[in-house]
Symmetry: C3
Subunit: 337 residues, 3 copies
């Protein structure tokens, strides 16, 4: 069984720290090694992507490898991932063959596969990326699954280090209103990585927007291990007071998972208040503003915030490239990596 | 007129043997030549593709070339291929210009173009790939047309050689039930190449699923030339008795070509029996199981067969890469190729 | 602010001449420099493309660079380009972030973005490509916008030079009937570049198919500066008499911009006469026939014209590759470029 990169929880803090250090060496131009020379990496996008696609293609290419981009179709789910299924309906290929063949062509497989936003009970277990990992004899890299987006989270951790230096920071994950319910992969992975890295985490969201119960339990345990803590609040202002990092992100409620119409009604009252604006930012005393992008301007955060020096969203996106090179070098590099 | 790779019938047995030998040299890592250095190959997918796309991109790249993947749209046919057409309807470009321009940019053009499954009389002549070949001043490589899939067939022949050694084998092409009628390119090309290579071929299918009359006549003549024979049966069990290779594939009936609803009714009675399972495989006394993929598990063949050591479907897919490198090297290599 | 390549009007005649000379050096194989070595260029296609996509990928690659092709979706406009917009509708990302991030990954950004054919008043200002240019810290290359297609126009100028030698030529831009109203980018850019290069230009179109007023005014001024003139006529035959270049192109009327049904009625009477055929070509006494492709055979021009030695449309398409290499080398090359 190869070592995959599915979520940061599988990796120790020391390993994550080393990834960040390696990423800075790539960013500073100190590491010009090409561990992927002569090797191909498949990048499979079941869902559309611009940033991830561009940065991963470039990461593979700069490491000397050859990226093969495959887009099996964003609107239809054509891969069967359940064991023992009788495939007489719309699924045209089983993950066993899909992954088995790609592993013969490529040294690793990056996979983007969003949740279908139908069954919370099922999708909270991240079944598809886990089926890929179970079947694959080569490393699987999660490029955003139903429940995790570890490349984003690691770029976020790198950006916090870059802007604020090493050590524990007061970090706030703040729910934002958005015209439609979005997946939870980014907030899950950000919260997980932040706590693993020892940051003090505040999560602010309206009632009903709780993260997954198991994840919250994991966060508490990891915080305890790291000597820090997680604070959850329904008051947006509380997230800003004294914080050094404001990380805005919208996500959908588990309560109306799969019912976007009802979810919209549920979130309607929060539109006015749950936006990051300059007034709230002033409560922080100089926090940086982060977002994984794409962001809805004047909906999740105002132009004033995004155009201010506090916003580091472009650096954060750039760091995707560097951290992904570090992750690829770690998975596919030599013994010394 | 350049030498194209449209179907194996245009190539002698000796040439096909040399392709297979070259493919093994690539697979064993003995041939690291880069005959495509500094050259581009267009890969035009009128229909979606994962395996062919990945393996062809990689083949071109490993030979030093630069693959340009173009996807003119899988749902609409935007290329006019009839001479003299007045193009005032939905076709936006004539194959003459499409191919003429690509031939200026690229040294060769791979084309995937499925049948529209409308008119058997028209599509049995493979009009679109032939229009490409007629217009092109650079080699056209058939990446699956209405009636042929020669890269797949050559990967199949290579796999038989790899698993069972050289010489005549008892090979069975077995129709399988599938929830929808599929094109005949794979069975056509497999049967053609198997007979060209001197194998003893049994074709088993329900009544009404006959292959094209001209093709069947060609198979008989080629078998005579090669000192072997073709046996057609409506009894699936007969295909298994004593066979060394079971090649499963579903295809649609010419009788209801273009009428998928009626075709489904026609095939309904065959679902229970026309599946490859372990019981049937036991009749062979140790045959290998082959399929071009994607395969519907527990519909075309059972999990038991696919997960058994008899299944070589992943090796078969891997061999696509090696044989395609051999084909490219043959078409675009130097005088010694 | 970087130097963009948005339309030829931003560049002097001397600069355009140097681009053409550089393109010939690439075509003759005299220039093998790789100014893009180790650099990536994003190629963003909001609209589908075959020729531009193939030739730009190849141009970047032959110059040593790495092309990253992104297709944000041809059917939906997902980029918000208006400053200050409240993004609570269907646009998922603002051009500020889209361009800001790509500029971190890539040294330049090629953009194809057709008009939406809704509001003439708005689209005549080419708002989207201009928003890209305003936001970008790296050079933007226009791969066809609502109002301009400068890479095509420069390939056209190169082709005229290649076929007819240096100096002033009598050049005719001739409207052609087409089953649907098309954008004006190609005629705009061809007319602009032709006059900038000092050619004597005749524009023939039916009444109601006038080019943009500001553009026509610019053409007159540029013609005056270059010591040549622009002649506009509603008589197609007049365009042929004595011309050395016939450049056919269909475009839609500003009068029914956004109303394709009514536009079709308006153009119906012109179908018989506004086609380039051999009889009209005979009036020229040996003109070359040009078209940007794709062309509707026997609708815009007859098979007789397209299959005759007068047609240079394939050379013209090939020259896209060479001139684009010259443009890229100019934008991204060293101080000496």
């Amino acid at each position: 069984m190869p070592r995959h990169f599915l979520h940061t929880g599988d990796w120790t803090r020391a390993e994550l720290e080393r990834l960040i250090e390696a990423a800075f060496r790539f960013k500073r131009g100190e590491d010009l090694s090409q561990p992927l020379l002569g090797r191909a990496i498949a990048l499979v996008f079941f869902n559309p992507s611009l940033r991830t696609r561009a940065s991963m293609q470039l990461a593979v290419q700069q490491l000397g490898g050859y990226p093969i981009v495959l887009e099996p179709g964003s609107s239809s789910w054509t891969i069967e991932f359940r064991d023992g299924a009788v495939m007489d309906a719309d699924k045209t290929e089983h993950v066993a063959e899909f992954v088995g063949v790609l592993a013969r062509y490529c040294s690793g497989i990056g996979v983007r596969v969003f949740p279908q936003l139908r069954s919370w009970r099922e999708e909270r277990t991240d079944p598809i990326i886990n089926a890929f990992a179970r079947q694959s004899k080569v490393p699987i890299i999660n490029l955003e699954s139903a429940m995790h987006h570890p490349c984003q989270a690691m770029a976020d951790m790198m950006t916090i280090r870059e802007k604020l230096g090493a050590g524990r920071k007061r970090v706030a994950l703040v729910w934002a209103w958005h015209p439609k319910p979005l997946p939870m992969a980014v907030p899950n992975s950000f919260a997980l990585a932040a706590v693993q890295m020892g940051h003090e985490l505040t999560i602010a969201h309206p009632p009903g927007y709780e993260l997954d119960d198991d994840l919250v339990r994991d966060l508490a345990m990891l915080a305890h291990d790291a000597g820090t803590r997680v604070n959850v609040t329904h008051e947006i202002e509380e997230a800003f007071d004294g914080s050094e990092v404001i990380y805005a992100k919208s996500w959908g409620s588990r309560l109306f998972y799969g019912s976007p119409e009802e979810e919209l009604e549920m979130r309607a009252p929060y539109r006015q208040r749950w936006i990051v604006d300059e007034e709230k930012m002033r409560r922080t005393g100089g926090a940086i503003f982060m977002h994984c992008l794409p962001i809805r301007r004047n909906v999740e955060a105002t132009d004033g915030v995004l155009n201010s020096p506090a916003s580091v969203v472009i650096d954060e996106a750039e760091n995707r490239l560097h951290i992904q090179k570090a992750i690829l070098a770690r998975l596919f590099g030599g013994a010394g990596s």
